[in-house]
């Protein structure tokens, strides 16, 4: 069953679904960062595609030449793919002012790639009511600009349908994650990441179908994954499933994660309340969602991580922070202190985007697992 998702991922970044969508004359819009509401793109009849970098760690000559060596390898990797024409199929790009890496990636993308439609949303760093007002105004403006670009209105009915579809995805992913709460989960952490990856480059209608089938299969299967210790992976953007696989190959049982490509992507549904427009509901969900390290106060993020640790009975946390990913690097000393208070050790890894977790990282994971075993 996982093979189906792998097959989709094998034609990264332009999957067969993307080609099919393009050939029907419809638009494909790339989005950067989880603060960009996909529902709006979907409701416009366009296919939202997540912009990420190479699936493996690569030499980033072009990316580095344009973004300089001290910007995170995620930004450089994304830009290099675009510079080499791998994202030429995109009709538009939407980003958020989430971090320095992404905002500069967006600046250079606009200048050197020149995709037809581009917009960057101002994302407040707080959860206050005035922050929500500002974010809603940004989302409203984005909708208007997209309508102008597409040449058709995005109706409330279409938005509601998109919300329902995306909420279904979120509910299914929650079911998938719930399976990992068991002592010996039927699916590994690396396989889950492969599933999520596929979902970023295919219509959610088809993804939900496949995901539902996968959950059915897993629920009935006798497959069991055992490990030396239950782990959570937290930190910077991560798309290479090999990284998690390398931890699992050493006996780590990765049962959950706090990543923008996983739990932080799907965790909260859009709540359609009476008296609230669909756009207001979308905006509220995206700003209030499981926060990125950019948000203030950091305790919002820490508390959610602690909740994950309790829900999934996590014994150790692997923090993987891409070099120059400053928001996460700043949070790390505070996070370690918080987790120390609940007696959960942290393995802090400095990585490059796309890292497979081999070499020195593998050695440190091995030592971490030994330490966790010794505590039992």
């Amino acid at each position: 069953m996982i093979e189906k998702f792998r097959e989709i991922n094998s034609s990264f970044p332009q999957t067969s679904y993307v080609k099919e969508h393009k050939s029907s004359g419809k638009k494909v819009i790339g989005w950067l960062c989880t603060y960009v509401p996909e529902e709006i793109i979907h409701a416009a009849g366009a296919l939202p595609v997540r912009i990420t970098g190479y699936q493996q760690e690569q030499e980033l000559d072009d990316g580095t030449a344009y973004l300089y060596v001290n910007n995170c390898s995620f930004s450089r990797s994304c830009l290099q793919l675009a510079l080499r024409g791998e994202y030429d199929f995109l009709d538009g790009v939407v980003g958020g002012s989430t971090c320095d890496g992404v905002r500069r990636l967006f600046d250079l993308w606009r200048k050197y790639i020149g995709t037809d439609f581009h917009q960057i949303l101002s994302i407040p760093r707080k959860f206050t009511e005035s922050a929500h007002e500002l974010y809603l105004s940004q989302v409203t403006q984005f909708k208007q600009h997209l309508e102008e670009f597409i040449g058709a209105p995005i109706t409330d009915e279409a938005l509601v349908k998109s919300i329902e579809l995306y909420n279904e995805t979120r509910a299914l992913l929650k079911q998938l994650y719930d399976l990992r709460k068991s002592d010996n989960p039927p699916i590994t952490g690396s396989e889950v990441l492969e599933v999520l990856e596929a979902g970023f480059r295919m219509p959610k209608e088809a993804f939900n179908q496949l995901l539902g089938e996968l959950i059915d299969v897993l629920s009935k299967s006798n497959a069991e994954n055992k490990g030396r210790a239950r782990l959570a992976v937290v930190g910077s953007v991560l798309t290479n499933a090999e990284f998690i696989k390398s931890i699992e190959e050493q006996g780590g049982l990765v049962v959950t994660d706090e990543l923008c490509t996983s739990t932080r992507y799907w965790s909260d549904p859009v709540v359609l309340d009476e008296g609230k427009t669909p756009l207001e509901a979308i905006a509220r969900r995206y700003l209030n969602n499981f926060p990125c390290a950019r948000m203030y106060p950091s305790d919002e993020r820490f508390d959610r991580i602690i909740q994950l640790i309790r829900d999934f009975r996590v014994e150790g946390v692997v923090s993987q922070i891409i070099r120059y990913c400053v928001p996460y690097a700043h949070d790390l000393p505070l996070l370690i202190k918080k987790l120390d208070a609940i007696n959960v050790p942290v393995l802090a890894l400095d990585v490059e985007y796309g890292s497979s977790g081999s070499g020195q990282i593998a050695t440190r994971v091995q030592a971490f697992l030994e330490m966790l075993e010794a505590r039992k």
Binding site: Y68, N71, R125, S130, L134
Partner: protein, 421 residues
């Protein structure tokens, strides 16, 4: 808190006092220089004595609306620039950066922020602030560092969320954030905002901006009358003394000195050969060396697009809070925040032409991601108007990053290239 460390503020005060005394003994030191060091001495003395004099001390990050602190009679302590000054005047910044690493901050976090966090983790290095106030101007480091130093120092904190762009809604949001901060400070300090005083400070700040603009205009003269790296002193005026009468007095003195030099046909260096554009901040620990090199080669920084050129606009004392918000959008460095659109980047090429620039120097600070990500864009823009650019890898604070020898070699090669150009 870790043990050890000497009081860094006292060290800065001592260094500034020594420089002031030495300058008095030299015949050619301009009056503005004496004023500058006296202002620094006074600033850090206020920081150092805040507690014993019963004043409320607020540590704040760069591009923070310090006008509000002054209007409330709160003593400000600029965190990043304090680290710079420690590097510049005492050479003891490495100790602080190391302490930052010891509390778990990664080496890619910029040294002024690692240094200040390190300083707050050490006993005695800095006075204990009564509050920490910070904003996200101008990068992720500023956005994130306040929370950590509030934790380390055990001080209450307020984060001022500065919006990314300039829409009406964003200005409204910013004003709301400023009001929230005033409420916080009133609550913490027991002092009320003095709106009349804020209006007065806004009027002074407007005058300060006018003077900054006048000084920029005078620097267009050939030869340029302004000292080779004097723009760093101008930055300090806004960082430490926004809307303060002594800053106006200082800037008027600088302006008058420049006018006198132009009238006498005198340049900042004896034989001006290379008019340079500076981008970003030179390494503090090499300032003396760079100044010497400038005189040796007749190379002078005449313009700094993102440091000395204020955005358009005027401040209105009748609308003090709106003006504080307006100023945030006009600060030269803040032109680098928000989307880097064609207008902003074209301004770099226009300034090169207006100031008759021969070459540009981009100080690529290893810890500063958002400025380094513009190197290619700026280089290409300047290349379109035939201006070569030297990119110099460096660090504002960490002396292990670049040596004098290496820097000299790169500058000499660049000057050779400019001669052949």
């Amino acid at each position: 808190m870790m043990d050890g460390s000497s009081n860094k503020i006292e060290a800065i005060i001592r260094a500034c006092s020594v420089i002031t005394r030495m300058n008095k003994a030299l015949p050619d030191v301009p009056e503005s220089k004496n004023m500058y060091y006296k202002m620094l001495t006074d600033y850090f003395t206020r920081v150092q004595r805040a507690k014993e004099e019963g004043n409320f001390l607020a540590a704040h990050t760069v591009f923070f609306p310090t006008e509000i602190l002054y209007a409330m009679d709160i003593v400000p302590m600029h965190t990043e620039t304090t680290t710079w000054m420690i590097a510049l005047f005492t050479g003891e910044a490495t100790e602080l950066v190391t302490a930052g690493a010891e509390i778990g901050l990664a080496s890619e976090i910029c040294t002024p922020h690692r240094g200040i966090a390190g300083a707050f983790s050490l006993k005695n290095a800095l006075p204990q602030p009564d509050a920490i106030v910070w904003s996200n101007l101008i990068c992720d480091n500023t956005a994130k560092s306040g929370e950590l130093i509030a934790e380390l120092s055990g001080s209450p904190g307020y984060f001022l969320d500065h919006p990314f762009q300039e829409s009406q809604q964003e200005r409204k949001y910013l004003i709301g954030e400023l009001k929230g901060m005033i409420d916080f400070l009133e609550h913490q300090s027991g002092k009320k905002m003095n709106w009349d005083k804020l209006s007065e400070i806004v009027a002074f700040m407007d005058r300060q901006i006018e003077l900054f603009r006048e000084i920029c205009e005078l620097r267009k003269a050939v030869p340029t009358p302004f000292s080779p790296l004097g723009f760093m002193d101008l930055l300090t005026m806004d960082y430490f003394f926004p809307g303060q009468p002594e800053a106006i007095e200082y800037l008027e003195t600088v302006r008058d000195e420049l006018k006198a030099k132009i009238a006498a046909g005198k340049g900042a260096v004896d034989n001006e050969r290379f008019r340079l554009m500076s981008l970003f901040v030179p390494p503090m620990y090499l300032m003396g060396f760079l100044e010497k090199l400038s005189h040796e080669y007749g190379a002078v920084s005449v313009t700094e697009p993102f440091f000395t050129h204020w955005g358009e606009g005027k401040l209105d004392p009748n609308k003090p809070l709106e003006s504080v918000a307006q100023k945030a959008y006009m600060i030269p460095e803040v032109q680098m925040y928000g989307p880097m659109n064609d207008t902003k980047i074209q301004r770099v090429a226009d300034l090169a032409e207006e100031y008759k620039v021969d070459g540009a120097v981009y100080y690529a600070d290893t810890g500063c991601r958002h400025t380094c990500a513009l190197i290619k864009l700026v280089k290409d823009t300047l290349s379109d108007v035939d201006i070569p650019m030297l990119t110099l890898d460096s660090d504002v604070v960490d002396p292990t990053m670049t040596s004098e020898e290496e820097t000299r070699e790169k500058f000499e090669g660049f000057f050779e290239l400019l001669e052949d150009y």
